[in-house]
Structures are given as structure tokens and as C-alpha cells.
């Protein structure tokens, strides 16, 4: 009788433990379908890199194979003032790095099928070198831009977190501020570039920037990027989420 009780208890304990560990395993291994959704969000960078790889592949094999077609790289400086770093998820104030000069936009490679009798190897080398340099520059610029956009997202978050909209805020209002920063991330000055017409709203935007005060993370930026994008910064405030 004692033995049978012992047996039944040990069976019970085993069954119970097995059941619980099975439940835990199920929960841990199949926790939430949102995993994939979350992962899908930030792949912006990958795209940019893919484009760049493609271009790199083009000019290389050309000079080796045949001396005739001459790759000529024409880096066209296209200052494209990129407007606002994309609509951020629930963006209220838009951070707009002032006049993002996209220095080199896509070195265009044009193979010219001009038949030339003698292979002008020196000139070709030079061309190749300049093409590579342009490539490099383009890469750096791309990288800088990514960096800048992630840091402007950080500034945006900080400012948005500190922004208290006045009750008089209405949809469609927009105030544009220009802020000056130093490389330590310290705020030097704030000025209104374009007023919304509502003094309270303008003031609230200004106060939000003042409250955010210091953007410590900017210290991590290389000075070049800072000078280019963050020395002077334009912020646009819009009460988009208000239903008025």
C-alpha cells in the first residue's frame, strides 16, 4: 500500500513536471507572431548598400577585358536639399537638417564605345582612379547621411518628448525653428524662422527645444558630420496628431 502510494505520487509528479515544462517550452518557442513584424521595420540601410554594390561591379571588369570601351566617370555634384528625413512614425516636429548637401550623387558610368587604336593605359588608370575616388566619396556621403538621419531622429525624439502643445494649437499650424548646436550637443540658440501666427504655439515649440536642452549623444558624431548636418538645424513643429 505504501509502495503503491509512492508509485502513484511519483507518476503524478512526473506528469505534472512534464506538462509544465511542455507549456513553458511552447510559450518560449512560439512567443508572439509580432517578432517578424518588429524585425521588418528598419531595413532602410540595406537598400542603399545594394545600390552601391551594383555600381561598383560595373566599371571594374571593363578596362581589363577590352581596351576599347573607356569608362568615364562623371561625378555630378547635385546639391539636393533633401526635405525632411522621411515622415517618422508619429512625427510631430520634423527634424530637418538644413540643406542636406548630397555632394556626389551616383557616379554615372558611361561606357563609350569609341574605338581607339592604341590603348592609352595611363589615361585609363587615371580615369579609373578618379572613378574609384568618386565612388569612395559617394560611399562616405551615404554613410554620413545615414548617421545624420539616425541622430536627427534622436533629436526629434528628445524634443517631441518635451513638447507640450498649448490648447490653442490647431491642425495645419506650423512653426519652423532654427537651432544652433555646438559639438558637445549643447544648445546655443533658438530662433523662429517661420512663425505659425499663434504666439502660444510658437512659444511652446521654443520651450520644447529649451527643455530638451542638451543632446549628449551628438558628442559621438565625427566632427565632419556634425558640421555638415547639425551645426545649424531646422525643426518644423506641426500638431498633426490633434483632432481639431
Amino acid at each position: 500500500m505504501l509502495a503503491s502510494r509512492f508509485v502513484s505520487f511519483s507518476i503524478a509528479i512526473l506528469v505534472s513536471l512534464a506538462l509544465h515544462s511542455f507549456v513553458i517550452y511552447l510559450l518560449v518557442s512560439h512567443w508572439g507572431p509580432e517578432k517578424s513584424l518588429r524585425k521588418a521595420a528598419p531595413p532602410k540601410y540595406v537598400q542603399a548598400k545594394l545600390v552601391q554594390l551594383e555600381e561598383k561591379a560595373k566599371p571594374k571588369p571593363k578596362p581589363k577585358s577590352k581596351p576599347k570601351p573607356k569608362p568615364k566617370a562623371k561625378p555630378k555634384p547635385k546639391p539636393k536639399p533633401k526635405a525632411k528625413p522621411k515622415p517618422k512614425p508619429k512625427a510631430k516636429p520634423k527634424v530637418k537638417p538644413k540643406a542636406k548637401p548630397k555632394p556626389k550623387a551616383k557616379p554615372k558610368v558611361k561606357p563609350k564605345p569609341e574605338p581607339k587604336p592604341e590603348p592609352d593605359s595611363q589615361k585609363m588608370q587615371q580615369d579609373l582612379a578618379s572613378a574609384l575616388a568618386a565612388e569612395e566619396e559617394f560611399l562616405v556621403a551615404e554613410n554620413d547621411e545615414q548617421l545624420a538621419s539616425s541622430y536627427s531622429a534622436y533629436i526629434f525624439d528628445r524634443v517631441a518628448g518635451n513638447w507640450n502643445r498649448p490648447p490653442s494649437a490647431r491642425r495645419g499650424m506650423e512653426v519652423q525653428l532654427s537651432i544652433q548646436l555646438v559639438p558637445t550637443g549643447q544648445l546655443i540658440s533658438v530662433s523662429i524662422v517661420k512663425s505659425s501666427g499663434n504666439a502660444a504655439f510658437d512659444r511652446s515649440a521654443e520651450q520644447a527645444v529649451h527643455k530638451a536642452g542638451r543632446f549628449e549623444k551628438l558628442q559621438e558624431l565625427p566632427p565632419r558630420v556634425f558640421e555638415q548636418y547639425f551645426r545649424q538645424l531646422h525643426l518644423v513643429f506641426r500638431p498633426e496628431d490633434l483632432r481639431l
Binding site: 502513484s8 505520487f9 507518476i11 506528469v15 509544465h20 509580432e34
Partner: protein, 224 residues
């Protein structure tokens, strides 16, 4: 909060109290499952033994033979022990020449009642535990949840612009406590209801048998 919320991180990040509540519920769930399985086995064997013994008893076997076949007192289980208690007392009393039939029947019935109540206790053992788990663990889980949500909102008070993302992890981790409470409670409720019903039916089988047996003994006492 860019990394995905894993179950484990939710539990690990919870406050001590909530973690304690979760641990408590988890242990309660494990123990209640041990009880569920053990009681299930016990009640199944008990009702099988009841049927077997009754078949055996009504097959016309000699009572003395049955008494000797049923082993000794310590190993007797269920209906066997009721039968043995009654029969032994009956034999002892009838061997005393002075005993009158009423006293013999009274003593026999009393000793069978004792054996019956012992069996009843065995049948209902650990059912109260299941009942407590069933009724209390949702409350414990709810307490953990309320506490966790309280903390989440208190943390929210320091933030200027509250977004869903700032409260969501806190609430999510708090809700785990309720889920665990329900997880522990639901099987316990089901098992309690089922087992108390089957314990009742087994016990009423015992009682019926005791009555029948005492009526047989009664006939025997008065025929002498």
C-alpha cells in the same frame, strides 16, 4: 524597446513582488497538477476495487473465506477494510457467549462506521487543496497584475508625453500574472468538481455496501 519582447525578458524585468506572485502561482500549478494526477489515479483504482469487491462478495463466496483472503488489516483498502472491520467485530462479539444480538449489531455497525469515515477521509484527501487553488489563484494573479500596472503607470507619471510604447511592456508583464493565475485555477476547478463528484459516488457505494452487509449479519445473529 527595439528588441523584441521575449517572454523571459518580460518575467525577468518584472518587479520583485510580481515575480514572487508568478513563482507562487507556478508552484501552486505544479502542486495542483500533482494532486490532480494522483487523485485521479487513486479514485480510479478505488472505484475499480469497489466494483471488484462487490462482485466477489455477491458471488456467494463464504464470508470466512473472504475474510481470510482479503489479507491483513494494514493493507486493506476501501471496501475491503470496511468489510474486515465489520466482520472481525461481529466474530469477536458473537464468540462472547454473554453478548445479546442487539449489542452485537451495535458494535459491528460502529466499527464499520469508523472504517467508513476513515475511507471517506482518504477519498477526500487533498481535494480541499485543489479547491483553494481554484478559488484563490485568480485573485493572486489579479493582485500581481494590478501591482504591475500600478508600477507601469507610476513610471508613466514622470514622462511628459505618454505613448503606448512606454506603458505596453509594463502592462504586458503584469498581465502574465493573471494568465498564470487562470492557468493554475482552471484545471483545479475542473478537477475539484469532477473528483468530489466521483469521491461522493464511491463513498455512497461504500455506505450502501455497509448497510447491506449489516443486514446480512443481522439476519445471521437473529437466526442463531
Amino acid at each position: 524597446m527595439t528588441e523584441q519582447l521575449s517572454l523571459w525578458s518580460l518575467i525577468a524585468d518584472a518587479t520583485i513582488l510580481v515575480q514572487f506572485v508568478m513563482l507562487l502561482l507556478f508552484v501552486a500549478s505544479i502542486i495542483s497538477w500533482v494532486m490532480i494526477v494522483q487523485r485521479g489515479l487513486y479514485l480510479r483504482t478505488a472505484s475499480r476495487n469497489l466494483r471488484q469487491f462487490e462482485d466477489n462478495f455477491w458471488s456467494g463466496v463464504d464470508l470466512n473465506e473472504l475474510y481470510h483472503d482479503s489479507g491483513n488489516q494494514t493493507t486493506a483498502e476501501g471496501l475491503t477494510s470496511v468489510f474486515r472491520a465489520g466482520f472481525r467485530e461481529f466474530n469477536r462479539l458473537t464468540q462472547q457467549s454473554s453478548a445479546d444480538p442487539e449489542a452485537v449489531m451495535e458494535g459491528t455497525e460502529r466499527s464499520m462506521r469508523v472504517a467508513l469515515s476513515r475511507e471517506e477521509e482518504k477519498l477526500n484527501r487533498s481535494l480541499p487543496f485543489l479547491a483553494s487553488v481554484a478559488s484563490v489563484s485568480p485573485y493572486i494573479g489579479l493582485f500581481g497584475t494590478v501591482w504591475g500596472i500600478m508600477n507601469a503607470f507610476r513610471g508613466l507619471a514622470n514622462v511628459q508625453q505618454a505613448t503606448l510604447a512606454t506603458v505596453a511592456p509594463g502592462i504586458s508583464e503584469a498581465l502574465i500574472a493573471t494568465a498564470m493565475g487562470l492557468f493554475a485555477a482552471i484545471p483545479a476547478v475542473l478537477a475539484y468538481n469532477r473528483y468530489s463528484a466521483s469521491a461522493d459516488s464511491v463513498f455512497s457505494g461504500y455506505e450502501t455496501f455497509a448497510e447491506e452487509f449489516s443486514s446480512i449479519l443481522h439476519r445471521r445473529v437473529h437466526s442463531n
